[in-house]
Structure formats: C-alpha cells, structure tokens
Amino acid sequence: MRLPFFSKRKQEQKKEEFSPSDLAQRQVEQKTKLRSSAKDNAEALQELMGKDNADFTTRELTIPTTPSVEAQLCFCETMIDATALNKQILEPLLLSVREIALRELPGKSVAEKIGRNLLLAGKLQNFQFKDEVLSAALGGQVVLFLEGSEIAMGVELRKIPERAIVEPQSETVLRGPREGFTECLSDNKSLLRVRIKSGKLRFDSFRIGRISENEGAVIYLEGIANPKLIREIKRRIKSLDVDMVADSSVLEKLIEDHPLLVFPTTLFTERPDLVEFALTEGRVGVMLENSPACLIAPANFFDFFKTAEDNYIRWPYTSFIRSIRLLAGLVSIWAPATYIAITTFHREMLPTALALSIAGARENVPFPAFIEAFSMELILELVLEAGVRLPSPIGQSIGIVGAVVLGQAAVSAQIVSPFLVIVVAITSLSSFVVPLFVAERGVRLLRFPLMILGATMGLYGIMAGMAAIAAVQTAMTSFGQPYFAPLAPFWPRTLTDIIFNPPIWMANKRPKWLRPGNRRRQDFVVRDWAQDGENPDGEVDLSGE
C-alpha cells in the first residue's frame, strides 16, 4: 500500500531526469568484445583502470610450451594473494610446462588447453567482454590474456584484510551461538552454508552501484520462501541506479516500502543463527559485501521486539520477557508525555497522597512540567550521543557523569523534580529493553512530538498523536505484507507469536502472514518418543545396565 504525500508529478519528473538511456548507452560502450591481441587487451584494461593506477599490475610472460604462447597477466595486487599467484599460476605456466607440446593437450582452443590442463585453479572463469574483465580484476581475480585468443581467463585468488568471526556487540546472548557475520560476503555465505546444509539454500548474486559495483546475494530457501517475494526483492534491487551502496543499511533504505517514515520495515541482524531461523520461516535475506548485517524481509512491527535468545531459552520466560519488552516500547514513547499530561491537566487522576507528594517535590522547581521534561530528555539524548561517539572507557565515564549531573545535581539544585528523574530514567531504560528499537533511534524521536501534544492538550493530545501513529502503522507494509499484522489485520493463530514463543516442537507451521511456499514446518508429532507406547512416561530404568 502506498502511503500518501508522495508527489506523483515529482516522481515522474525524476524518472525523466534519470532516464535509463544514458546508463544503457554506457553499458553498450562497455560491452566491447576483447581482441585477439593479448597486449592490446592488457593495455585496454590498463586504460580502464587508469594508467597511473598504482595497485594495478600487468605482467607480460611467455609460456614455454611448444610452441610458446605470449600472454599478459593482469591483477590488482592489493586484492590478491601473491603466494597463491606464484604457486597456482606463475609456477605452472613458467616452470612446469617446459617442453610440453600444446598440440597434445586436450581442448579445442589454446585458451581451453591452458585453462583445463595447466592452471591450478579451483574456479576458472572465461570472459569475452572488457567490462567483465574489469569487474573480475577489481573483484580479486587474476586475468590471463593469451595471444591470439579473444577469451580472457580469470582465476579467483582474492585475499583481502578480514576480521575474525566474533559475537556481534549489539546482539549478545547468554545462551546460544556466539558467531557473527563479518564484512566478507563469502565468509558470511559459508557461515550460513554450515548451518543449512541443503541444496535448497540459494545465494542469488547481484552487483550494485555504478561506481562501487558491490557484490551482494539474495538468500532464501527454495520451496519455502514465497517466489513472488523473491522476485519482488530482486526486482527492487535490479531497478536501483546509484553510485554506491556502502552498507546494507543503505540498501535497506533504497528497497524498503516506506523510507521516509521512522519505522523500519526490514529486519537486520549480524547473527547467522537468526538468519537461519528467518530463512526457515520463509523470509528472504539480503547480504552485501563489506557489510556485516543481513537484511531480512518481510518484517512486522512486533519482530522488532524479538531477540536471538528468545529461541534458546525456555518459553515461559521468553513469553514473560516479550510482554515486558512490548510494555517497555509503549513506556519509552508514552512515559514523559503522560507525566506532563497528568501533572498539568489531569491531576485528579492521581491518588491524593501521590498528588501531594508530586506537588511537594515540584514546589521549588521553577519550570513548568513540559520544559522540565523536554529539556531532561534532550540532555539524555546528548549524553547518549556523547557516549556513542567517544571511545568506550570515556563513554562509560560520560554515562556516569550524565547520571550524576542529571540526577543528583539537578534535583539538588531544584531545577527538576525527583519524580521527573525517575520518569526519564524509566523511559531510557525502557527504550534500551527493546532490542532492535535501540538500533532504530528514529522511533525514540516520537516521544518529543507526543510530549508537545501532552503539554498542550493533555491525554487528549497524546491520544490524537497515538491515533495518528497507529493510522500510519496500519497503512504500512513490508514488501507487501501488512506491517501491523498479526494484530491488525487480526490473525489469531499467528497472534500468539507476538508474546508467546511456542516450544519448537509445537511450532508445526510457519507464520501465515509470511505466506510461505510451504506452511508445514515439521511433522505434527515431533517428540515421537513421548508418544511411543513402549515408554510413554519417558522414565528410563538404568539400574540394570
């Protein structure tokens, strides 16, 4: 569903300005076939890379077969493994092939003979066009041009600086796996492949960015993910025409349904186990080279209240903590506004003793409740931002300073009331309880307009604000699926998943709202041993053994 306030005329105008014709022209230019001269091809590649490009190397060599073959080797030295280059290409081509008669080797062309018989490469690709060669060289392949051949060969010898696989800082768990994605796409793919050893796990590759040419993959389980969803995600990615996509968070904003709103409509995680859970539910992941986060779509509002650990701890606690998180989500948006509304407009709602206590505490505070709360919330945001920007040891100190200054000093100076400090503290605690809420700080912004509404119109204003927020949320979609499902539209069978996390042996079906290709997850009776007539109670007598 398209949300309002997007000018159609503007979009059409934009289309005209960025007509794909120039892009198509560029592509035609680049789709130039290679020549038969190895030197010409190498020079053409050098030209495309820039003549003074320091990290691009061209090496001329003569392969001493009978007859000898002139060749050109091109590569980005910062992207490849030099040892592997020596062992897998130079040694075989220069040392091991002396006196080998090329004619006796199997294969039709010279390129095929050399590629099939002489190169020690696990993955060998043939290229016909210049742009293919260019992106192969930039992607860490060593390109071999042979004299007299219009086909170039690419050997994957990529080696780039990588960091170790560590637990993601923002998604730590007490129980469960402790590995996280890195910036290397192939490593991330292997982390998933290790978890899902099924031929149905698909990594459909794509390249994005005119300049950056980032590699990425659409990840899904064939037969489980809805084919329409996969098509839609690929369609959106394919239609993008941007210079560069630095991170998956940028890609998220380019392909999500409502990029102007504060609510995220795509999940993201750095945990392979969470991606595994998502894929087996029928969702689709998108990963990018240089980004440790995997995007997961579609997502609904309530998905942002779930954590990785929910899958590993026992269900009663999960259910309890999920309801706490939902409550915390509401508190984090509502609490300051409600404090302002009740202390300003609806004092009668408070029990007399509490009302007197609050009034007593606020007696010497010079500001109205709104200024008091608004400034405290702003200062809290400042402290949080400072804590994030500074190195962690100093960041912690800033947190302590902030707490002391905001709490004790402000109350002692009678600038704010102690009740407000409690409210602000509860608000910030609540906002941190909600897992992915924290990452999407934009949502926390909502408390500010609500505070203004609470200060001007009391509960009436807050209700008006919440009604508007809910209206937008109910109109939102995530890749075509309603964002507020399963509450609105109300799907009772999936509704339990908002709070209750049923034990894995009871979750026989995949969530309906995801419209997976195959809804059945497992057999009706998972714990078959418990149904077994031989040992129905599960009691095992080990004494006789």
């Binding site: 569903m1 949300l3 609806h346 119109m457 008006a464 949320q473 109910t474 609105a488 539209p489 109300f490």
Partner: protein
C-alpha cells in the same frame, strides 16, 4: 475511482460496532432514563432487537445488489441517472453526520475533560486525525479498528464493571414499574441508530469472504445491544434514574465513580480518551464513504481531494448548534431520523427494486 479495498468479517464487525454505538454511547442512558425511567436498560434491549431488524435491511440489499462497489452496483440496478442520484443522496446523508459528530465530540470533551480549551481547537486536531485516516483508505481504517479494539473494550468494561460496587438493584426495581409503553418509547430512541449500519452497503462488497455474513451482522448487533444495555443498567443502578436523566453524559459520571484498589480512580479522562478513538474511527469511516460516493457522482477519480473539501465544509457546520441542548436535539432528532432514512427506508425501497427484476449477485 479508487480500487475497492478488502476487509475481513472481523473488521466489518468492529466497524459496525463502533459506528452504531460510539457517538450516542455517552448520552444514551440520559435519554433512556428520561423516556423509560428505571426500565431504560430494558428499552435498550428491546430497541436493539428492533435495531437488528433494521440492520437486516441494508445487509439483505448489499447481498442482492449487483457485484462491484456501491456506486457501480447502484448504476447497474437503477441506471446511470437514478443510480447517481441515489448515490448522491447516500453520500450527502452520510456526510451530514460528520459535522454533527465533530460537534458532539467537541462538546463531550469540553464537558468531560477540557473545559477551558476552545472547541474549535479540539475539533481541528480531531479533524487532522480523521483526515489522515480517511486519506489512507478503508484498509487502514479497518485495521485501526482492530488495533484499538482491545483498549476501547477494556476501558468500557472497566467503567461498567467498576460501577458494580456502588450499584444497587433496588434502584432498578420494580423492573416494569413504568409500563410497557414507556419501554417501547425508550426503544424507539435506540432502534433508529442501527440505521447507521447502512455502511454495510459499501463494506459488504469489500469483504474478502461473504460466507457467514449474517452471523457477523448478528454478533455486531448483539454487542451493540450489550453495550447500550449494560451502560444504561450500570448508570441507573448506580446513579438512580432521576440522576441519570439529569446529567448530560452518564457514562462519564460512571467513570468518575470507578475506583480500583483505592489507588486508580477518576477514570473519565481515560474513558474519554478511548471514546475519542471509537468516534475517530466512525468519523473517518463516514467521511471516507461520503467522499467515495460523492467522488463517483462528480466523476472524480481521486476521492482524496474531496476529503479536504468535505472537512472544510464540515468545520463551520459543526458550530451551528448554539449549545449542548441543541447538540442533543440534533443528535436525538435529526441524526436519528437520517439514520432511519438511509439505513432502513431507502434500502427498503432499493430492496424492492432488486426483487422486482434488477440484476442480483
């Protein structure tokens, strides 16, 4: 014309519930107590039974109309001119509720919650909300009804059950002290409002699945009946019939009496806030329907432009009644009559045409 959005039967039930019950919920016990005294709650029950019969007429018509959205179906049934004429009447009829509801809303909030705030400010904020939701379309309206259903129902139950401790059955007895005629008189206050259920003429064609539609309509009628009867029962049982008849909004008075654990009390701001949501849903739906119908009449492809125009027209109209008594007079006079006409008389006539040879589904 905007493509017909789809809703499900649960959403239809809630939309009907909120449309019929929301606006008159607050003052209804006052008028039932005035008409039928302590038997007002029985009038609510009897009136709801009559109301269900009224609600059956547009439902039957919606099921017998040719396929497609209401304007298209009316043109198929009556021809282009008469189809559009009826569409115009329906559109204007539904729109006529909007300014009244804006005023009813503003008046209730001034009396119950914000006596020092100008009604115009309250209504303007409310209009912005209504505009946004009706702009977004039928599906978001229906989904918002689902999202807000739980808090609205909870607030209602808190008020009704919270009044049980001070409730005295002696204030309600003898049950039939004022005679059957009084009860029937009270029932005539309730029944016509079920005519607001004429929204089903638009909503039933938008249903994903029409199976079990009568069950849904019946359930919505029963829930409205329970809401009216329980609120009136609690008001008269707690406040007495005389007091109920003398306060403008007995529902709010009840909310004021609620006290939970001697800590949570004075629920009227909370109750009014929830009432706000139900009125907001109803007004948004009616504005959306009016704009859709009038857009068809005036050959406007996009109904959204009309939303703004209609609201601009509705705003000054909302201030025509001079005081609360005039608001009540319109609410229990004009609105009752209009509900009856667009929800019973006109659908009844159209139903006759469908039986007479018009195309049916």
């Amino acid at each position: 014309m905007k493509a017909l959005e789809k809703i499900d039967q649960g959403q239809l039930l809630l939309l009907l519930l909120f449309t019929i019950s929301s606006t008159i919920q607050l003052p209804l016990p006052r008028f039932l107590a005035l008409a039928a005294g302590r038997a007002g709650w029985i009038s609510a029950l009897v009136g709801s039974v009559f109301g269900l019969a009224i609600l059956a007429v547009p439902t039957l018509l919606a099921l017998r109309l040719p396929p497609g959205p209401l304007p298209v179906a009316l043109e198929s049934l009556l021809g282009k001119f008469w189809g559009r004429a009826v569409c115009l009447f329906f559109g204007l009829g539904i729109f006529s509720f909007v300014p009244l509801m804006l005023r009813v809303f503003g008046a209730a909030f001034i009396v119950g919650m914000m006596p020092r705030t100008p009604a115009s400010a309250l209504i303007l904020i409310f209009m912005l909300n209504v505009f946004l939701l009706s702009y977004l379309g039928l599906e978001p309206i229906a989904r918002s009804a689902q999202a807000f259903a739980i808090p609205i129902v909870l607030a209602f139950l808190v008020v009704v059950f919270g009044s049980i401790p001070p409730l005295d059955l002696l204030r309600l007895k003898p049950w039939f002290a004022d005679g059957l005629l009084q009860i029937l008189r009270g029932a005539t206050f309730v029944a016509p409002y079920f005519g607001e259920g004429a929204i089903v003429l638009y909503l039933i064609p938008a249903l994903q699945n029409k199976e079990g539609i009568w069950k849904t309509i019946s359930w919505s009628g029963v829930l409205v009946c329970l809401a009216f009867a329980s609120l009136t029962f609690a008001s008269i049982g707690t406040l007495t019939a005389t007091w109920t008849a003398s306060v403008p909004y007995p529902g709010l008075r009840l909310a004021r009496n609620v006290s939970i654990g001697r800590f949570f009390h004075r629920f009227e701001p909370l109750f009014l806030s929830m009432w706000y949501l139900s009125v907001y849903l109803k007004t948004s739906l009616l504005l959306f329907l009016a704009a859709q119908l009038l857009a068809h009449v005036f050959n406007q492809k996009n109904y959204r432009l009309l939303l703004g125009i209609l609201l601009v027209v509705a705003f000054p109209l909302a201030f025509l009644p001079k005081d609360l008594l005039e608001v009540f007079a319109l609410q229990f006079g004009f609105a009752r009559l209009m509900s009856f006409v667009i929800g019973f008389v006109l659908p009844g006539v159209l139903l006759f045409f469908t039986f007479r040879g018009g195309k049916t589904q």
